[in-house]
């Protein structure tokens, strides 16, 4: 990422619109290599129709790290904890208490917690792994048409929209399934298409005449909730992707201007953003699951 001749730009499509360094026309095609931070993850290999992108490789590394970590924790588990176990327990206990403050119930927390904590750790490690030196700067030069493009071998997985969208979909769809299991399909369906509210109008209208105004509003609120679910997907995926991608662009930009010392505060900033974004994503997942599991009562 510290190459002096990196160009930061927003690329609209894959192939054509790569903007070259000013004055590139004077140079021959062989000597000019375009370095850029693209919006998308670059493909590295292709197994048939399945392309392995650099962000997918990063994601695999994260999986491997967590696997090793989990095995390591599993092996060294004792009633009288080691120093490492104490640290892990402190983190898990803190996370559990934080989750309790959202769900307000330890039993409910324990149901959602493994997923939420998994989201947190997965995103956190992906965010931080994207900051490591070498990620984004080690790669190979690929020839595309008449151009030569630098393709990094590794790229932070959360700086790839595919990852964040997959996680967001998992989070929102998972929350809905959890809600159906927790409160029942009919009750859950009425959260969105509030047939109950419409059906109860004739029954209650004599007692409460205002219900003819209130319940149709309730029905439309339910319909808006459907849009809300899609908004959740969009906000979750774009927030994470935007923050992490912007961080990479920022670090590259600073490195272009001043290669030494200057990027250090920004790297610290990105470390904080990495943990904050992971926390936001996992907390929102927790909230979605928690809200989906509560029966709507008004």
């Amino acid at each position: 990422m510290s190459e002096a001749n990196i160009i930061v730009e927003q690329t609209q499509t894959v192939n054509e619109q790569n903007v070259q360094v000013p004055g590139a026309d004077n140079l021959s095609a062989e000597t000019q290599v375009a370095h850029e931070v693209t919006l998308f993850a670059e493909p590295i290999w292709a197994f048939g129709s399945f392309t392995v992108t650099n962000s997918l490789i990063n994601s695999w590394i994260v999986v491997l790290i967590i696997l090793v970590l989990a095995v390591f924790i599993r092996q060294g588990l004792k009633t009288i904890p080691s120093r490492f176990q104490t640290a892990v327990e402190t983190i898990v206990d803190g996370a559990l208490n934080l989750a309790d403050s959202v769900t307000g119930d330890r039993i409910k927390t324990l149901k959602i917690f493994p997923l939420a904590f998994g989201v947190f750790l997965f995103i956190l490690l992906n965010n931080w792994l994207g900051l490591l030196p070498g990620v984004g700067s080690i790669g190979f030069i690929a020839t595309q048409g008449h151009q030569q493009i630098f393709v990094p071998l590794l790229r932070g997985a959360t700086a790839d929209f595919n990852t964040t969208l997959a996680l967001a979909l998992m989070s929102v769809i998972g929350a809905n399934i959890f809600g159906i299991v927790a409160v029942g399909a009919w009750k859950y369906f009425n959260k969105f298409v509030n047939l109950k509210a419409l059906a109860s109008i004739p029954r209650k209208i004599i007692k409460e005449p205002t219900i003819i105004m209130v319940n149709p509003i309730k029905f439309f609120v339910g319909l808006i909730e459907i849009i809300g679910e899609f908004a959740k997907i969009a906000s979750l995926s774009f927030r994470l992707f935007g923050n992490i991608f912007a961080g990479e662009v920022l670090l590259t930009s600073i490195a272009i201007m001043i290669a030494f010392i200057a990027p250090i505060p920004f790297i610290f900033l990105e470390i904080i953003i990495g943990i904050v974004q992971a926390l936001i994503f996992s907390m929102l997942t927790l909230v979605y699951f928690s809200v989906a599991a509560t029966a709507e009562e008004h």
Partner: protein, 173 residues
């Protein structure tokens, strides 16, 4: 929508791959790390609370034991004091009894000795009287020679001896 898919290179296969990655992470974390870890933590919390409870119970038992001990000591002291008093009383009574007995015996012995002494003395006087009487008779007989009227003489002598004896008796006693 097309633009988004194109510019972000959205590929459902890649998404599935990432989802699988995440599923592995979540499952592994839950199965190998979080579940056993929370189990251990819960177990330890239970053990600690049980230990604390046990310690509390033990402390209470100890306190109870101390109180019981104190009470026992107090009771024993009480009993010892009572026994001591009783013993003192008994000893005193015994001593008094003994003293009284000894006194009585001594008195008895003294009385006996006195009696004996008196009787012996009486006997002695009797003997002395007799001997004195015969002596006087003999002496008088010697002095007077063959007196004509021994019967008269004997009467005289006996009277004289009686006087003497009475005199000595009054002197002695």
């Amino acid at each position: 929508m097309e633009d988004i898919i194109k510019s972000f290179h959205i590929d459902w296969k890649l998404m599935m791959a990432q989802l699988i990655n995440f599923t592995i992470v979540a499952w592994v974390l839950w199965r190998w790390a979080l579940k056993p870890l929370t189990k251990v933590m819960t177990k330890r919390a239970e053990e600690i609370s049980k230990g604390l409870q046990d310690a509390k119970t033990a402390a209470e038992g100890l306190e109870q034991l101390k109180i019981t001990k104190q009470e026992m000591i107090k009771e024993a002291k009480h009993e010892a004091a009572a026994i001591h008093k009783q013993a003192e009383l008994t000893a005193e009574k015994y001593r008094q009894d003994t003293v009284a007995k000894v006194k009585a015996e001594a008195e008895k012995a003294v009385a006996e000795v006195k009696q004996k002494f008196i009787s012996e003395k009486d006997e002695m006087f009797k003997e002395v009287k007799q001997q004195a009487a015969s002596l006087v008779i003999q002496a008088t007989a010697k002095v007077l020679g063959k007196v004509a009227a021994p019967k008269l003489d004997k009467e005289l002598i006996e009277q004289a001896v009686k006087e003497v004896v009475n005199k000595s008796k009054s002197k002695n006693i």
